[in-house]
Symmetry: C2
Subunit: 254 residues, 2 copies
């Protein structure tokens, strides 16, 4: 293929939490216009049906497995923009949280390539919607913190944020350790926890437990090894009446 | 109008941060199907063009002005579902953060009306996309907290969450007080702050300042009195080279 006169534009698009129709309208329209789409491994195949005209590249990282090196992704984005007008980098969730978009943006800037970021629905908000339980509650929970942790290092566990509600992304392997840290920081043993797997997809599952049970490994056997999981913690998840319809999924007592 | 045999369903839909095409595809489709739409005051009129078939009611609260009582909104939702199949409650941003969705859900549950929440892009993620600066950064910022404050009460200022990056919603009036609290909590005087107004709309404006300048009221004169504003704080916003293109908007030095 011959290089175009001037480089195209790269759109870093948030694919949203999982369900194909939870992408934004702007994101969908860009998929329809793209000549090249570089997408994460976790992106719903239904979403890719909107860009049948495009050349697709699966470049995503999936919980450390089958990962493409970030520098390879960066180079591929630059190369694609040198040859095509509309290049979409489709990233799970929102591109600007836990997504290494920064490295991709820096590579595009260094190569003089125009870019635009299209935000997406992040998993914690989709989980909250699915549960019918808001993350904040007038008078009771004014703040919510989103965080992730690198591979189970003690030092990082001590750096957990402090807020009324916590949403911990990619915390599957460290779930028990995180809970132990939170107990050590003074969170109550019966602090409500909701573990949500494969948010917004047909495979979505929820587990309602207490912080104490999480610390004792209650989620370890329940969680799948190959699905994305989110830990939600906070008093707002303790309203058992509200969750009556989902309690059948499995409520454990510590 | 005659009441239907069985009540309809209420969809609490996140309208997203402002731009009409930042609603989700699912949200857009529901607007196209709705018989009744109850929307916040801040919702983009272009978005309402998707539901020309529906009866519209502006019920939203706008920074305390022209607010409908929440109990009135709740009643209206229940009444609409008694008469129509598809009722959309279109809420600015994401419905489950700072949105009082909980009260609406409880009213629907009490009336035995089916509901579903459709998540949305929250303002902080749209601001981050617009700035081209991610809220988290590998190795440097692992957590981000979102919060809001009730009317400038000292006690609540002390309850600010702790995380690497902070996003404070609806903090226009309390901006200086919040900054003073953060300084008292040990945040550095030169902690980078980005104030973003009317995120994702044609009226979007940004101000890059330091925490110290914010504490001294630097944002007070700059902010509009009738536009939604977001305070973003954290080391990630200190990368001035990255923001070279927006610095012309106004960088203040304390």
């Amino acid at each position: 293929m011959k290089a175009a006169q001037s480089p195209g534009k790269v759109y870093l698009v948030g694919a949203g939490p999982g369900a194909s129709d939870l992408i934004t309208v702007r994101g969908q329209r860009l998929l329809e216009q793209a000549q090249v789409v570089l997408h994460d491994a976790l992106v719903d195949p239904q979403m890719l049906a909107w860009c049948k005209q495009a050349t697709l590249f699966a470049v995503g990282k999936r919980c450390g497995k089958h990962s493409c090196a970030q520098t390879f992704i960066n180079k591929r984005l630059v190369d694609a923009a040198m040859r095509h007008k509309v290049v979409v980098r489709l990233k799970g969730g929102d591109p600007m949280m836990f997504g290494r978009a920064d490295e991709e943006i820096r590579a595009l800037q260094a190569a003089g390539i125009d870019y635009e970021v299209v935000p997406g629905v992040t998993a914690a908000l989709a989980a909250s919607a699915s549960l019918g339980q808001s993350l904040t509650l007038r008078g009771a929970a004014r703040s919510v913190a989103f965080c992730t942790l690198a591979k189970a290092e003690e030092a990082q566990l001590a750096q957990l944020p402090q807020a009324d509600t916590l949403a911990i992304y990619m915390g599957r392997r460290q779930a028990a350790g995180i809970a132990q840290s939170l107990l050590a920081q003074g969170r109550p043993a019966d602090w409500p926890v909701c573990v949500v797997e494969s948010v917004s997809t047909a495979q979505e599952r929820r587990l309602f437990i207490t912080l104490d049970a999480l610390a004792q490994g209650a989620a370890s056997h329940w969680l799948s090894t190959d699905a994305p999981a989110l830990l939600l913690l906070g008093a707002v998840f303790g309203n058992r009446e509200q969750h009556a319809s989902v309690l059948a999924d499995g409520w454990l007592r510590a």
